[in-house]
């Protein structure tokens, strides 16, 4: 039995599947962590808006630098996310419109601008296209030089890991650290902004920092896994987690678990699932991970112990 498992998880697994799975997990958790606070602040769709503006950010970075290396692309995408957030704020204030409409206006416009620039400039020599931005290329992030589990302790093989893996690991650490260090402030200002302001928490700065963390997660994750997973992971695991518990700490814990399960099962079903039906082709891992997270949400909506709104609500 154990031998079977070892064969199934043998050298080929390490080479072809280990890194995509790990990258998927890292990306899912990096998005789910800030997603918890976005959910409670009624800003779940900020993640949606940000992941749409990643494409124009990359295109802008390409237009400026003429290359598609990782660093300028990530800076461009991060910059676009911040531009988008500032624009949303301006539209909201100027037009005195609801946040949803302001978001919809800004992200569609920026996305349209990105697609237009992509079409009218000659980007055929390089590999950026809309599909890539939406879907990522999780399946292609394989570890060529891995020869088995032993490679995990082989410095030479480790040096050839897909660069997305260490990048996402660093981003995840930064985001986790941000949330851990500012746990009190995030919790208080999310629950009661006026009180937070009165005890000296800079709620606006903190809110902006949360959005920046969201943008960093979105930008780091999209390159590996595409925008769809990013949006799904911002919303679905935290939403499922909220239906499991009434304590913020546990909610965050559950969201990490759900994100991990989605990433693993999604990748496995996408890669191996079609084989069970006799098809030689794999399906989109990004799409499957999003689908699994949706199924988990469906289950928690039906059976989550804290799924119902109970007790007296504060009247308006």
């Amino acid at each position: 039995m154990i031998n079977d498992l070892i064969t199934a998880l043998g050298a080929e697994f390490v080479q072809l599947s280990l890194t995509p799975i790990v990258i998927g997990i890292l990306a899912a958790i990096a998005c789910a962590l800030p997603g918890n606070f976005l959910l409670l602040r009624r800003q779940a769709l900020i993640g949606d808006a940000i992941s749409h503006v990643v494409l124009p950010g990359i295109v802008a970075a390409f237009l400026v630098t003429g290359t598609i290396t990782a660093v300028p692309m990530m800076l461009g995408a991060g910059g676009a996310a911040i531009v988008a957030v500032v624009m949303i704020e301006i539209v909201k204030r100027l037009g005195r419109v609801e946040p949803g409409a302001a978001m919809g206006l800004v992200f569609t416009t920026l996305f349209a601008a990105g697609v237009l620039f992509l079409e009218i400039t000659d980007t055929s020599s390089v590999h950026i296209d809309v599909q890539h931005a939406l879907l990522g290329n999780l399946e292609s992030l394989i570890w060529f030089d891995a020869e088995g589990w032993g490679s995990l302790i082989d410095p030479k093989a480790l040096a050839t890991l897909p660069p997305q893996l260490p990048r996402l690991a660093i981003v995840l650490v930064v985001i986790a650290l941000f949330i851990f260090l500012f746990w009190k402030e995030l919790k208080i200002s999310t629950f009661d902004a006026a009180f937070a302001e009165a005890v000296g928490i800079r709620t606006r700065t903190l809110g902006f920092a949360l959005v920046v963390a969201t943008a960093i997660a979105a930008v780091a994750a999209f390159d590996a896994v595409g925008s769809i997973i990013v949006i799904a992971m911002f919303v679905c695991p935290p939403a499922s987690a909220r239906l499991m518990t009434n304590q913020l700490g546990r909610q965050v814990g559950w969201s990490v678990i759900f994100a991990t399960i989605s990433a693993i099962l999604g990748y496995v079903f996408a890669g191996y699932g079609p084989g069970w039906f006799g098809s030689p082709y794999a399906v989109s891992a990004a799409g499957m991970i999003a689908t699994i997270s949706g199924l988990i949400l469906m289950l928690t909506c039906l059976f989550g112990p804290q799924r119902k709104r109970i007790g007296q609500q504060a009247e308006t």
Binding site: L45, F111, L135
Partner: protein, 406 residues
């Protein structure tokens, strides 16, 4: 023929039957999207339409697969539209269900439905790509829209459906206005709010599915959102706002389609969205009613008036003034000298402000129900809001009160 020549001829529908039909179709689509979007905007549910549009993708994929299974080539537009309508209707029901049955809020439900449906749709598309008939399906075009190589029958379908949707909005405009403006009141007049809400979202759904081919499912939501936001800057009334939104949407669709027909490399959907954004930008900056420029000027003027008034009152009470802005304003007006002492002019103005203040205070006491009291902004001189007779009475009361104290 230069781009400009072509653009101008296309603008006046002289660039060939096909592109004229596409432009008219896009215009009608924009018209119905703008007006339907206006109701959704007023109901504050703009992003529900984002969930609807993303939720079309699995339907497109499944419809294609079913049509192929029955031996057709799978690209028949009405079939794909029906499929997308069914799956986005399911998405809409899911948003409602999650919001009603669980403690999750609508924004979370929207985010979940749009990402999961879209993700599942992508899974289906990758399956279709592996099907022998799927390789040239061109279903990716539904993501961003394309009018290149559109069949005349397809353009016809879109134009007719767009006209029907616009007619639908026109028929339902009265109950939808009621519900968008004040759902509670609408309910008391016998309007079924739930059904009207459903009809509103149904319209968004119709606009979305007929717009898929031209604008694409990622951007179609812009046609529902941007025109009403732009329209809101020009008016505070529901009726005109819907008209303006319809106009902005229609023009955006029409001009965008013409532009992209004139220059084949320009993708239709993004162009239409950017034209709409142009309308928004002009409205947001320059509308005299709620535009940014006008609001900013108004706010600056108001702040200056407040500081001027408070400074004058301080002068009248012979209190020192600390606020930097107040000092600057009074100095520039020649009311105080550099050392902060009031000039002759300043003393007169201060006295006048103090008298006005005292008159208003007395007015609140003796005429509490006068409409001027309700409308008073704290700054307008009493002469402009009350009759000389009223003011004379107020002055009389002030003298009596002072006499009593003395």
């Amino acid at each position: 023929m230069s781009f400009l020549d072509y653009f101008i001829s296309a603008l006046f529908l002289q660039a060939g039957y096909n592109s004229a039909l596409v432009a008219v179709g896009a215009g009608l689509l924009g018209l119905s999207a703008g007006s339907a979007g206006a109701f959704i905007f007023l109901r504050k549910r703009a992003l529900v339409s984002d969930a609807i549009s993303h939720a079309t993708l699995p339907g497109v994929g499944l419809a294609f697969m079913i049509m192929v299974a029955f031996g057709s080539d799978g690209r028949w537009l009405p079939g794909l539209i029906i499929g997308s309508a069914v799956s986005s209707a399911i998405g809409l029901v899911m948003v409602e269900w999650i919001t009603r049955k669980t403690r999750l809020t609508e924004d979370a439900a929207i985010g979940a439905v749009l990402s999961v449906f879209f993700g599942f749709g992508i899974v289906l598309l990758t399956i279709i790509q592996t099907m022998s008939s799927g390789r040239q399906a061109g279903l990716e075009n539904f993501l961003l829209g394309s009018t290149a190589g559109m069949l005349i029958s397809e353009a016809m379908t879109i134009a007719i459906a767009g006209a029907l949707a616009a007619g639908f909005v026109f028929l339902l405009r009265r109950p939808m206005t009621l519900v968008a403006f004040d759902p509670d009141y609408a309910a008391t007049t016998g309007v079924n709010v739930r059904n009207i809400d459903l009809a509103m979202m149904g319209l968004a759904l119709i606009v979305t599915v007929i717009g898929l081919k031209i604008v694409g499912l990622i951007l179609i939501v812009a046609l529902l959102i941007i025109p009403p936001v732009a329209a809101r800057f020009w008016t505070n009334q529901v009726g005109p706002m819907i008209g303006i939104a319809a106009g902005v949407g229609g023009l955006s669709g029409y001009i965008g389609a013409v532009l992209s027909a004139a220059e084949a490399s320009l993708p239709t959907g993004p162009i239409i969205v950017l034209v709409a954004f142009g309308f928004f930008l002009i409205s947001a900056l320059f509308s005299p009613l709620r535009g940014g420029l006008a609001s900013w000027l108004r706010h600056q003027r108001f702040q200056r008036r407040v500081h001027r008034r408070q400074g004058l009152l301080s002068l009248a009470r012979r209190e020192p003034i600390y606020d930097g802005l107040t000092i600057r304003i009074l100095r520039r007006a020649g009311m105080i000298r550099a050392d902060g002492v009031a000039t002759a002019r300043g003393r007169i103005a201060a006295e006048k402000a103090a008298r006005d203040e005292a008159r208003w205070a007395m007015a609140r006491r003796i005429l509490p129900d006068d409409s001027a009291i309700e409308r008073y902004d704290g700054l307008t001189p009493i002469e402009r809001m009350m009759t000389p007779d009223q003011i004379a009475e107020i002055d009389h009361m002030i003298q009596t009160a002072q006499g009593a104290k003395a």
